[in-house]
Symmetry: D3
């Protein structure tokens, strides 16, 4: 089984974190490939940046068409994930969606610990779009600027742990999600240091992608995740035109 | 006052409908400019197509930076609108958002009449993202293929009227929104033929954009619609890089 | 275009604030008339007082029947507004409804700054009745008694600004509504002093009333805002009996 | 214990139905008094009519101040009930509120059978204002005009029974509320003819009013149901001025 | 009228509190019988303990089949109450359900004061299962261990009063529920010491049970509270087998 | 890895279906053990039956304590699952919870196809308890009696397929859950016959249980899923007393 993880941002250091955690988690028979956006921003905190990341994710998905059995959009907020589900013939998973699925299986009330204050509104909107606001008791975040996105786990370890503990003691969380691809693997380090389960997005996404491939639940031929209906298009990058054309063939 | 209307699709015929309705509605002192996406699809029905339209809208917004006092994303589903609010120093309005604002002022329960069955899920998600699901009693749509997107108002007049009447009689709608830029101006033609008020997205958006400019409520300097925080970017089209750079200057 | 603004309270000083702000905002061709309730309380903070204000608003609407193209119920909480929509053949707008429409166009999360602690429950119920609780992040208020309702803007300027800033910093508001007709015009004074847009109810109501008249969306002949069905009545004030009779004629 | 039932409409025939059912239900030691609005409409179907009924209910409550240990607003939709809770020192119960309390104790999913199509929107808004929309599975109604409001139970018996059965078979109701004071006592007649419990508003209100008096849970001195804060008023009917003055004395 | 109150826990001291309050509240013609679980835990704070209590409640209901006209599950969280409604031919009321019904009749926003921090999640889930989360503004609790469950009212009087006052001043509660059978009767002692009404679960349950018997609303023969469909069972305690068999006879 | 699947009903034929599907799905290194309730009913359709099943599941979990690394409550409605999460030191998964997690990863709007009309209310309440009502568009079911619970897949194949197709065409489902342990494995047979993905509860539960063991997210030491606080108990079956005692040791 081949899983492609797309980092929709330009930070190679974050792609490396993603790739490492994915390979630690994946089953022996799974091949992991991690790719980095050729254009975009260092990391996504806002709706405008997510819009850019979604477009980059789509181009990478098209560039690598045929090379994967499942796709992971390896950023929280899941930029482009829902659109890609329409055009691709295989499972597509985003980090937020995957982490929420794990968290929902582990407890009732969920908190998210995030890497910046600004990112909180966008995460809250993502959770709401999945209909899970009722499960979310808080989003807490780092408050200081991030000098180096690739080493935020190390640089801010104490602040992240403090935030997670407050989610439990003050907000009533049953489970903590450590959110943001730059935190990939941190749950593994924190194991046993928190009084409730801690969920990692990358490892959740890889495991759930494997599960969906195994369940082999069937493709979408009608309904809201079917390929977009046939219609004229123009001026699109080859990668995106290919995704549309492949989708049209499945109709 | 200058309002730029962006058609995030490639259909010039739809841009013409938008432009005509906008000019009929605008105050005498308002200048209307309507532009068409240089790349994309004929019309947006799905999340993947909306993702493309959002990126096209952003590029047009950047290409015309400085030429407008308010921006209208002239497609239902409002592709890219929320992201553009972050980077632009002026009001940004989408057709769905604008039509819903009008409808909320006219009655309690709202129905949407749309141009295709496939488009309904995406519209429902848009309404949900604005927290207005409780106000929405139904989305009804045409069921047949659309041979010519520019003349759907004429080609499908009877079906659209039937759908609107069912929204009132069967679903309990107090107000009808005719959704889809290809229906721009239809509310004007149907005036008096329906037993409840009928709302047009383009004219609502133009009027509300004028209102927001006049109210002069102040710019966003902090919070979730402030410009994206300063961070590295790479490989972006000039238009989008400009929007980010302009935003950073306002921080 | 003629807009009648009804102050459903007995405070002439508040009517003067309303009238001034309305005239500053209205388009050149709009005529503004502001009238004051002949009976009632100094200002509305509770459900019982709102019930009185609603009845006063209805009497004024009937007394002036035929003199306006749109009606504004110029109190927050919108006493009587929904009932008046049923009997009047023209747009009817309330301050809360209008301010929320503006705020929804300017951001996602909304806070309200109000003039007394007691008023908060009633405002929260009003927002809930419009299905917008999900958009509301907080209602903050002055805590001290109001010696002079007509000069609360000046007397409590610093407290109001503090409350508004806390809505942004602590509650995550994208937009602030300054609520209560006694605050009419304050948004204009505060322009630029807050880091997010600030919305005024009176100016929003006047502009939206103008928009609804222009959109000419059609009257309600069936459904929940149609005129009340014909049935016996007795003992009503002439003004209210007239509104019912006029409504019956439209059936 | 003395319970005053206020019919906020002018129909003496409906007051008679209310009075009969109330006396059949009340405990032996309870005294029932039923009064009829001196002004208003024959029965309430709309928001505007409810606004009139609320004002009439308040006047009757003031006229009879001191004569009752609990007050029942004996119309569905509970016009004026929440405001009266603020000014009165005793329990105040409305028919919808009371019927819902009974229904919530008897099952999960509730349907309402109403006397006219037009009344449905107003009832739905009342249920929503109590936060119970999630419990409500349907409102079904008679569709034909009502020639005689006092004999609707007899005239439309078959249609009402059919509607109630459809609530069970098609909508999944666990309990049926027969709504509208003109249906007072019908649940008693239908006993055993429906496959689920059937709730009457008048008998529920009388019993719950007795319970609240017995529980003697304490008066409201602060919070949203405390008496309205002291402030100037003018031009009010003596009955309403008295309620405000009595409230102020309790502050 | 005979009401059986089931304490689904093993604490006789709590049963005594329940029995005393029930007898103080009940009408003269009502006979009160209180029974204690023969197996289980001292008091219920968690979902697992509630599962045990539900099974004990069912056994007691079966053991005493035929001895009561209404049943009260006399623990907050209402363990087993909904299932018992299916099998019993008479009203079944739980303390939380009953207290909420009283509170909903007394005000809009409700707070719960509970006896331990751990119990809060379970109570919140119970309120949510009744669709009343929107009415609940807070659950506050004692934070210290409870040395003697039968004397918690006396031992923690000051802490309980402080918590209740904070519900009003900080959370905006219109009504307070004192939750937990060990607090039975405390509302009676606190009468007049709190600025809003205070609701007791046991007295509410007894009164509402009497009301339901009097309303005689009819049995459930179809729908979700009808007796379980006939099917094989095996190995059940006689008491539970009897309840199933009695239910089957009513089908 | 050892997974124990508990059938909380007495039907060995259903346990066989569960066991077969579990073994087809599990990873090579996973050991599957399936056990059947020694007491209870043939299959669970109601809240009362679920209460019995929960108690049986708890006894089986205690009887086999120490023999598994993850537990699956192998019935839809997940009887006892949430309570078992409190007392067990390992992941506990229910079929409904697991199927919903899979479905949420595959699409937005979900339908459930169930084996009896009566079961629908209980399933709807289960989905609501997980906060996922917004995702659920319909529950459709077989309407006829089930002569043989072990062969319902074969006996009712056509009806089940029809129901599933209506979920897609009429209700807008993106994904179908085939609900009820008696349908274990049916998704595998229907693969490719439906136009949207189809989810099986048993295979989802086994895969998600494996994932949770692998993620090793950490145990719950505080919060709402921590072991029940230490307190006296009496009269419990040894299996349940053991679970409580084991939990207390982890505090």
């Amino acid at each position: 089984m081949r899983i492609l993880l797309i980092n929709p941002n330009i930070s190679q250091s974050v792609s490396d974190l993603i790739d490492t955690e994915a390979k630690l988690t994946a089953s022996a028979e799974t091949q992991i490939q991690t790719v980095t956006a050729p254009f975009g921003v260092a990391y996504i905190e806002t709706r405008f940046e997510a819009m850019i990341g979604a477009y980059a994710a789509a181009q990478l998905a098209g560039d690598h068409a045929g090379e994967y059995d499942a796709l992971v959009v390896a950023a929280f907020g899941d930029p482009g994930m829902e659109g890609l589900k329409e055009v691709l013939p295989c499972p597509v998973v985003g980090l937020t969606q995957a982490a929420l699925a794990s968290a929902c299986l582990l407890g009732n009330k969920i908190s998210i610990v995030a890497i910046s204050r600004r990112i909180k509104a966008w995460y809250a909107e993502t959770v709401a779009s999945y209909g899970l606001t009722e499960r979310l008791v808080s989003i807490r975040s780092l408050e200081e600027p991030l000098p180096n996105i690739g080493s935020v786990q190390q640089d801010k370890a104490a602040s992240l742990l403090t935030a997670a503990n407050l989610c439990v003691s003050d907000d009533g969380a049953d489970v903590i999600i450590l959110a943001g691809a730059p935190l990939a693997g941190l749950a593994r380090s924190l194991a046993g240091q928190l009084p409730v389960p801690v969920v990692d997005g990358v490892s959740s996404a890889v495991r759930h992608a494997e599960t969906l491939v195994r369940l082999n639940a069937g493709q979408t031929r009608t309904g809201s995740f079917a390929p977009p209906p046939l219609k004229p298009n123009a001026g699109l990058p080859q990668s995106i035109a290919t995704l549309l054309a492949n989708g049209h063939q499945r109709l």
